[in-house]
């Protein structure tokens, strides 16, 4: 589904990604781990289409589409979803209004009419229940004054509403207490299917107890230096990243 080959990217002439190779198939969960500053969030942003980064070399495709040629909104229409590490606060736009606009713009891109209001309300209710989101929360301004946990829950709520083909969860566990983590992970697991794929970016193995990966990759200094199964995550939790760095030398 997602195919990344020898991907290089830079920001203001500084190389951040230095030859990433990654293949993700439908039905799979991949985890990308690595120390701070290794390029994890950059990789997530590049897949979603953030324009501050330049792809200098390599391939980035989703099924038959060359993502690198598409605008962020077009990537979303193709089924890419990024759960932000730091969701942006947008005062004056309610969660409901935002998600309605997003759903209908995605439908418009597919040549469909707006979703009927009753259907929209039903869907919102169903997905809000899935993530144990209070109805009052939905009329608040998007992310404004939300706690860390509320922001992340709201990200996964959006994922549930948009039902993406490829979801990238960028540090979705940060800022969550254990109860919120369980709710969010449970939500993600319910959204998992044989037709979609999930890439989890995290520092810690903790989240992977709840969202169990099929593959774990270690990203250091802009490159995936080691890949394995979920056991690799336990090893990293115990031993840190230094042993891998030493192995590389």
């Amino acid at each position: 589904m997602l195919h990344i080959k020898d991907l290089h990217a830079s920001v203001e002439d500084k190389d951040i990604l230095k030859g990433i190779n990654l293949d993700v198939q439908a039905g799979e969960v991949h985890a990308i781990m690595g120390p701070n500053g290794s390029g994890k969030s950059t990789l997530a942003s590049i897949i979603a289409g953030k324009e501050t980064f330049n792809i200098t070399k390599g391939d980035l495709t989703l099924d038959d589409d060359d993502l690198s040629e598409l605008d962020p909104e077009e990537r979303a229409h193709k089924g890419v979803f990024l759960s932000f590490q730091y969701p942006v606060e947008i005062p004056g736009v309610s969660v409901t209004n935002f998600i309605k606009t997003a759903i209908n713009e995605n439908r418009k891109a597919k040549g469909l009419k707006d979703m009927p209001a009753s259907e929209m309300l039903k869907l919102i209710k169903e997905k809000a229940d899935l993530l144990e989101i209070d109805r009052k929360f939905l009329s608040r301004s998007l992310n404004e004054g939300f706690s860390g946990g509320e922001k992340k829950r709201n990200e996964i709520f959006q994922m549930a509403m948009l039902n993406p083909k490829l979801a990238i969860l960028d540090e979705t566990d940060s800022g969550l207490d254990i109860d919120a983590l369980k709710v969010v992970a449970n939500g993600v697991n319910k959204l998992k299917s044989k037709d979609n794929a999930i890439v989890v970016i995290t520092h810690y193995q903790r989240l992977l107890d709840y969202i169990v990966p099929d593959y774990v990759h270690v990203l250091i200094d802009g490159k995936i230096v080691k890949s394995g199964t979920k056991e690799l995550a336990y090893e990293l939790e115990k031993k840190g990243y230094d042993w891998i760095k030493e192995e590389l030398v």
Binding site: G49, E51, P72, V80, V88, I90, N97, A109, Q158
Partner: protein
């Protein structure tokens, strides 16, 4: 002949035309003299530093349009808030249209200034209120000199007006260029409530210059909710001067939506003459092309324990220009004043300009006053966030513009008006999305 000379020499003809012993004859004479001395304001004056009238004064305006100009209801229906649920005072090229209007004299007066000026039963009100808070400045004086037509609204004490009042000035373009000078007098009695919507609308591309003056008197505990819709076409210019006199415990809110026109100047003046007054001045300005809007606000806190809230949001595209000149004066006696002023602007294009100048003059020592002013661009991170959810750039920008303006929109208290303004804004930004929750 310059427009000034033309106006001054037309005054005699205008005056001859009116009925003799008009109660405001003397006021008119003094006003034209003042205008003759001062002339139109120029950029040399501090208050007009960023707005030049030169380009709009050079047209050869017709000052006395045909009195028989008419428009079809079908053509203008869309400018009314409701067909039936509002009172309407409608003028066509400055002349009252009884056909399009819906006035009343039932327990209140929603009618014409011209008839109020001529009928003895209104004489006391005219003497007590007319030109009593209007300041001596050249444009106000010019309007006063030619004051004859406009809205006359008198709401007696304890009357809650059940539907909004619309004041609409249409210009037909039957004249090659037209200057009109509406004069509105609004008196809201003790504990009375009223909602008013004012609109100026040109129906062709012929140049129009409107020099409008409105005086509003809010008596003790009166409640006045006033909306100005400025969405005129690119050859129509408006100088709007509004004076509001507030007595004890009165509440006055003015919302100004400046979405069009060639040049718009809003002089909005509040005078808090009694304790515990509350004044709100809010505005949304969305401009493009070469449009220019200048908001010149004044809140004069004269009595203690009063509040004022100003919130002006501006979005400027292309080479449009905006000015916000907000002055708050807290006089020595006005202790415990709370005065807040906020002016935020987004420049959508590099060539758009905003000049913002907040001014606080505080002579009391126990007050809370604040002002904040920002000029910026769209937040790129927020745009990316919206786009990553599949919302295209234009719609994402629209959503952000709407969110930006929402602190002003949310306090519009007439739901249908709010819906209309949302639609106008969506149209202005060129998107077709419903903003309503």
């Amino acid at each position: 002949m310059s427009l000034k000379d033309k106006l001054v020499s037309s005054f005699i003809a205008f005056d001859d035309h009116l009925e003799e012993d008009s109660p405001i004859q003397e006021i008119r004479n003094k006003a034209i003299q003042f205008f003759e001395e001062k002339g139109f304001p120029t950029k040399k004056e501090e208050a007009w530093r960023y707005t030049s009238l030169n380009s709009i004064l050079k047209n050869d305006y017709c000052i006395f349009p045909n009195r028989d100009n008419s428009v079809e209801l079908q053509k203008v229906r869309k400018y009314f808030l409701h067909d039936i649920d509002t009172y309407k005072i409608v003028f066509i090229d400055g002349v009252y249209s009884s056909f399009l209007s819906e006035t009343t004299h039932e327990n209140m007066d929603v009618c014409l200034l011209s008839s109020a000026l001529n009928k003895p039963k209104y004489q006391a009100t005219i003497e007590n209120y007319f030109n009593k808070i209007a300041e001596e400045d050249s444009l106000t004086s010019l309007n006063t000199a030619f004051a004859n037509e406009g809205a006359y609204i008198y709401i007696p004490s304890h009357k809650e007006v059940e539907k909004p009042i619309e004041i609409i000035n249409f210009s037909t373009g039957n004249e090659a260029a037209l200057m009109i000078q509406p004069r509105n007098l609004i008196v809201v009695g003790e504990n009375a409530h009223v909602q008013i919507i004012e609109r100026h609308q040109s129906l062709t591309d012929n140049p129009v210059l409107t020099n409008s003056v409105t005086e509003i008197f809010a008596e003790k505990r009166a409640y006045v909710d006033y909306y100005k819709i400025q969405n005129d076409n690119s050859n129509a210019s408006l100088i709007d001067t509004t004076y509001i006199d507030q007595q004890r415990e009165s509440i006055c809110n003015v919302h100004t939506f400046s979405l069009g026109g060639k040049l718009t100047r809003n002089n909005l003046n509040f005078y808090q003459n009694g304790e515990h007054c509350d004044s709100t001045l809010k505005g949304v300005t969305i401009l493009k092309d070469k449009q220019h809007v200048d908001h010149n606000t004044l809140v004069r806190h004269i009595a203690p324990n009063c509040e004022s809230h100003q919130d002006y949001k501006g979005l400027y595209a292309d080479t449009s220009t905006g000015v916000f000149n907000g002055k708050v004066i807290v006089e020595k006696e006005a202790q415990k004043t709370n005065a807040f002023q906020q002016n935020n602007n987004i420049l959508i294009d590099d060539k758009a300009t905003v000049n913002a100048k907040p001014q606080l003059e505080i002579f009391a020592d126990d007050v809370k006053c604040s002002h904040g002013c920002t000029i910026g661009q769209f937040d790129e991170d927020a745009l990316f966030y919206l786009r990553s959810r599949g919302i295209p750039t234009k719609e994402a920008q629209a959503l952000m513009m709407y969110a930006f303006a929402n602190t002003v929109l949310e306090s519009v208290k007439i739901p249908e008006l709010k819906r209309r303004i949302n639609k106008l804004i969506a149209h202005k930004i060129g998107v077709n999305i419903g903003f309503d929750i």
